[in-house]
Symmetry: C2
Subunit: 321 residues, 2 copies
């Protein structure tokens, strides 16, 4: 959801915006007809606007004694989230870092062990694995169970691992289903199967809050030329986690869209995107300083997790907050 100033020359109609007792949002036309609005992010905005003055719940300063699992943790946004979360966990928490690149994971582990969090007793483990494989999912879940300290009060799973796909290609070039299959396997199937595995290993119990974050994108809700794999994968993931939120009312599920981040993935997008207008706009964003640091965006995600008032299953964008 993007806020902007509408063009000067415009047609206006006055309508009623209605929030009913079931928290459903409607637009009502002068004729009496009404249309139900379903966009979770939009409803989130409206709620935030209307409730700002009513927000009295105290915001927690930490994420409790937690077991936290982060995929794609070796670099970029995942690495940043690992560092930020480590600083918000209470002593005797556990952090499990998962990625395909072992060397970078171990570097991060060493950095975190030397940090304040590490010195205060945060247990850190790494799993080097390609989550597209059943064995890798099983290994990750097993490692999480083995390292999980007794008496944790929170479980946080951040499904961050993702690939951009070949953005030099347009949809019309994907004649071989195998190219699409392998992309969806790594970017969609692995996130669901790891989440399912973790939920089975750590079932709901009184006194433990369970939270699953999907690192989403504006591409989950808006189509972009020459990004067919990325958009399709992100849309699929959002829906998958929305279904999960419907099925598990006790679970806290968040689709967080972090905005354009200054990472290797952005560099790849800027140099390889097939659509010229898109590529030009990436370069302009970069030169105009509109690309976010991972820390900026990560801080907003941490705030969402600490406040813990988002509607479960919502798609919330950096720019919504």
């Amino acid at each position: 959801m993007h806020v902007s100033t509408p063009n000067e020359r415009q047609r206006k109609s006055t309508v009623e915006l209605i929030l009913d007792t079931k928290q459903r949002l409607f637009i009502q036309f002068p004729s009496g007809a009404s249309v139900h609005l379903r966009s979770a992010a939009f409803i989130h905005r409206i709620k935030m606007q209307s409730n700002k003055s009513d927000l009295v719940a105290p915001v927690s300063k930490d994420l409790g004694r937690a077991l936290c699992v982060i995929t794609g943790a070796s670099r970029g946004f995942g690495r940043c989230l690992a560092v930020q979360i480590a600083g918000l966990l209470k002593p005797k928490s556990a952090l499990l870092l998962v990625a395909r690149s072992g060397d970078k994971l171990r570097e991060l582990q060493a950095d975190l062990t030397d940090s304040d969090a590490g010195r205060e007793g945060l247990v850190i483990r790494c799993v080097t694995a390609d989550l597209g494989q059943k064995e890798a999912v099983e290994e990750t879940v097993r490692a999480a169970k083995e390292m999980c300290p007794v008496g944790i009060d929170r479980l946080i799973l951040i499904n961050n691992a993702a690939s951009l796909g070949d953005v030099s290609r347009f949809a019309r070039s994907f004649t071989d289903p195998a190219d699409i299959d392998s992309y969806l396997s790594f970017n969609v199937s692995s996130a669901l199967s790891l989440t399912a595995g973790m939920m089975g290993a750590f079932p709901k119990r009184p006194g433990m809050r369970r939270c699953v974050v999907n690192i989403s994108s504006v591409c989950a809700v808006r189509p972009y030329p020459s990004w067919v794999l990325y958009c399709t994968g992100k849309a699929a993931r959002d829906m998958m986690f929305r279904v999960l939120a419907e099925e598990e009312p006790e679970l806290r599920v968040l689709n967080y869209s972090p905005g354009p981040l200054d990472t290797e993935m952005f560099e790849e997008a800027q140099t390889k995107t097939g659509d010229l207008a898109m590529r030009t706009s990436f370069s302009a964003m970069h030169s105009q300083g509109k690309v976010l640091t991972c820390e900026e965006s990560g801080t907003k995600l941490m705030k969402l997790l600490l406040e813990d008032v988002f509607a479960s299953g919502a798609h919330i964008d950096f720019y919504d907050l």
Copy 2:
């Protein structure tokens, strides 16, 4: 998009609904802040409401001399669409029917050959294939090229083939990525690769309109418990075709959500859905006569194709019309 009467006890705000010169729709708050609405279906509704009296373009009575390809044509909605489309094609058109079940396809071919359309020279061919395989996609495209009459003025591809997935299972049970992979391969990858193959074989040329229909579902935009595969696959397909619409301005792309249809798939949903409330609501829909016939829904799709005024890439639901 679903229209209903909001609950009696409610909160109201008066806002401005604004359509700017770029056809973007905004809600403007009394404070001056405005929010851009992106839902294509919603915008379609608004346009239909506001333009009803202005609609003067003559609606075509036929679909021209076309090559039409329908997947999943052996039964249910796909079979119905084949019959309906056959009746709207001009003489010397061609219809290619694709499905995994050869016997039923050939029955349909025989029925259509005996119909008025068949007697007037409609060429009908069948391909028995599982579109999850590259070879099957290639075979379908080759058959389309071989049978395509000279001088067609329209190409219509209806991506209807789909499976429900195992709706007895909740998301938390999908620990094996292979189960998800195979579902996405048949329901997502195959639709893109066939569409890509067809676009390569029949590139744009003056005098030929090309149209691609994705048979979508309300599940593409709304999550339902115990339908994680179906919802995820439909959301992925919608986004895939929205990207295609962005990339190919000349192509007409439609995500049509046909409503609940009286097919074997509905029977499967009604008996096998894991979520009890969902299963009960399917039974209630059935007993209250709220399940649509394929003919009713197909007629609306034919109307959309004949009118040909939908916004390319839009998700349009049976109940929107």
